[in-house]
């Protein structure tokens, strides 16, 4: 009998797909909208006079303010003592308010998300595996999920006071709910034929869970974590402002409102946006491209190839 299925040349795995060379202006396409927005902003701000000018600082003024925010403590210290050691200089940088705000947000948020990811995954697995815990948690989560986590802030402040702990509780809680739901769904909807295949090879329940259910529900778990991170981000930033703490990007923004420091607000907002973007790129994209995308499981879920 003839070999009908064109048995392909065993392609070497090292051989990477030829990268299509694209001109620089195509590569930079994602940047264009920002340039347009900034240009419009700049033109509009330049029309503003007097008090209005304070409310609409020009782009260069904002950039200058950002520079000032970062370097102000350093330059002031240098003015007092020109022979400042290099380590002290670096240390002075960390006294700049914008960096302090950023660092505070930067540890609280991933920390809260990490707690939520662990607790959410455990609860989701319990729900997916045991009918009792499913009937216990589903009504609870269904009621809690629609409540914006930020609305809990006053209660949590009264119970746990003003401080990091309040922000962490609210952030983790907001993030926990969608993670638990997604893990539950993922565990419940693993392709039954994989489970039957494992059963047919006499795998016991625990082994099936470890070797089939967990990897099989990874696409759902990852998308749950992604939603969880987004919710953590929103809730955390809101809670910072309302919990009345001193350090944190949005706490800083609300402070700046008092002084009509628009430039500071714009700088802090940019950092927030950039931060979320980097977190997504650093955290999720590498994991996904090494697992579910490599295994072709996103296509199976109906996701389209993104053309960005």
């Amino acid at each position: 009998m003839q070999t009908s299925e064109a048995t392909p040349v065993p392609p070497s795995l090292d051989e990477k797909k030829k990268e299509v060379r694209r001109p620089i202006w195509v590569k930079l396409r994602p940047v264009y909208p920002f340039i347009v927005i900034l240009a419009i902003w700049q033109v509009a701000a330049m029309q503003a006079q007097g008090n209005q000018g304070r409310l609409f600082p020009t782009v260069d003024a904002i950039v200058f303010r950002a520079w000032e925010l970062v370097t102000d403590p350093l330059f002031r210290a240098l003015a007092e003592n020109p022979n400042l050691g290099i380590l002290d200089q670096v240390w002075k940088l960390f006294e700049s308010p914008i960096l302090l705000h950023t660092l505070n947000t930067a540890w609280r948020l991933p920390f809260s998300f990490f707690i939520a990811a662990i607790v959410g995954t455990i609860v989701g697995i319990l729900m997916g595996r045991f009918a009792f815990w499913e009937s216990f948690f589903v009504p609870l989560l269904s009621v809690l999920l629609p409540i914006p986590a930020i609305a809990w802030t006053p209660i949590v402040v009264i119970w746990s006071g003003i401080g990091d702990q309040t922000v962490i509780v609210i952030t983790a809680f907001a993030s926990f709910l969608p993670i638990a739901m997604a893990v539950w769904t993922g565990v419940k909807t693993v392709n039954p034929v994989w489970i039957r295949a494992a059963q047919s090879m006499n795998a016991d329940k625990m082994t099936i869970f470890r070797t089939v259910v967990l990897p099989g529900s990874l696409p759902m778990i990852l998308s749950g974590l992604r939603i969880g991170l987004a919710r953590a981000w929103r809730a955390g930033v809101g809670a910072e402002a309302f919990a009345g703490i001193r350090w944190g990007l949005s706490a800083g923004i609300f402070d700046a409102q008092e002084y009509l420091d628009i430039a500071f607000m714009m700088v802090a907002l940019s950092v927030l946006g950039l931060f979320g973007f980097v977190l997504e790129k650093v955290l999720f994209q590498p994991i996904e491209s090494r697992t579910v995308i490599r295994w072709g499981m996103m296509e199976a879920m109906g996701a389209q190839d993104k053309k960005v």
Binding site: M1, T3, S4, E5, P10, L13, V193, W194, R196, A197, A198, Q199, S200, M201, N202, A203, T207, T211, V212, P215, G216, L218, T291, R294, W295, G296, M297, E299, A300
Partner: protein, 248 residues
């Protein structure tokens, strides 16, 4: 020949909200060691139910199944090849084949060698490190056959394994299946509704009819291998089975 599996007065009844379904009634069948048995019939005739009972997926209502004289237990070694693509997407071809060996606690080195051996059997050793989604449908089912055979099961159960493939790939895999069967001398139960496939593969063809699901006749195929599906005797036999399925 030695009787491998003996099925006596097997019955399967289950209740749906509307009515009681007699999936199987009074099924008697003796399967010899190393035999290639094809189960054919219209949908709803119980052929897949019988296979699922042997696989341990479905409980027996009444009757007995014995293997080597002993009542069948849940955890005997059987290899199952499904119609759907049932490979684990997160494991490479080789890791998929190793799965059953992992369950049986084979040491890693041995596992690896055995996996390669069975990938060679289905002529895919060069694709050992490919993930299933980079393999064609036919190649995936070949890996599935290797996976089902690697831990040396007592019998191989195949449920329309090539049903989703195009005609040419299907022919190629039928030929491969015969080759694997001749090399390993496994007892194979093969469910199909493709009669040409049944005549091409089986030593015997068990013809099922529905309502209630039961055996109409067992047809012996004595054609020499490799079989020619255009030979007059082949076509005659195929027509005979076709008549058995449709007129009752």
């Amino acid at each position: 020949m030695v009787t491998k599996i003996s099925i006596q007065n097997l019955r399967k009844v289950y209740d749906t909200p509307e009515r009681r379904v007699h999936a199987l009634e009074g099924v008697n069948l003796n399967i010899e060691d190393g035999e290639f048995i094809c189960l054919v019939g219209l949908s709803g005739c119980g052929k897949t139910t019988l296979l699922n009972m042997l696989a341990g997926f479905v409980e027996i209502t009444a009757g007995t199944i014995t293997m080597d004289g002993k009542t069948l237990t849940q955890d005997y070694d059987k290899g199952v090849v499904f119609q759907e693509y049932a490979l684990f997407p997160w494991r490479t071809a080789r890791q998929n084949v190793e799965y059953g060996l992992e369950i049986r606690n084979f040491p890693e080195k041995e596992r690896r060698e055995m996996a390669f051996e069975f990938l060679r059997l289905v002529r895919l050793e060069e694709f050992a490190d490919f993930f299933p989604h980079n393999l064609s449908g036919g190649m995936r089912q070949r890996v599935a056959v290797a996976r089902a055979m690697a831990f040396d099961p007592q019998i191989l159960l195949m449920d329309e394994p090539f049903g989703a493939l195009d005609a040419q790939t299907r022919e190629e895999l039928q030929e491969l299946t015969v080759d694997v069967w001749q090399k390993t001398k496994k007892t194979i139960l093969y469910v199909t509704h493709n009669l040409s496939e049944a005549v091409y593969l089986g030593n015997r063809i068990v013809v099922f009819v529905p309502n209630p699901g039961r055996i109409r006749e067992i047809v012996r195929v004595d054609l020499p291998r490799p079989r020619d599906d255009l030979a007059p005797e082949f076509i005659k036999l195929q027509k005979h089975v076709n008549d058995l399925i449709r007129d009752f």
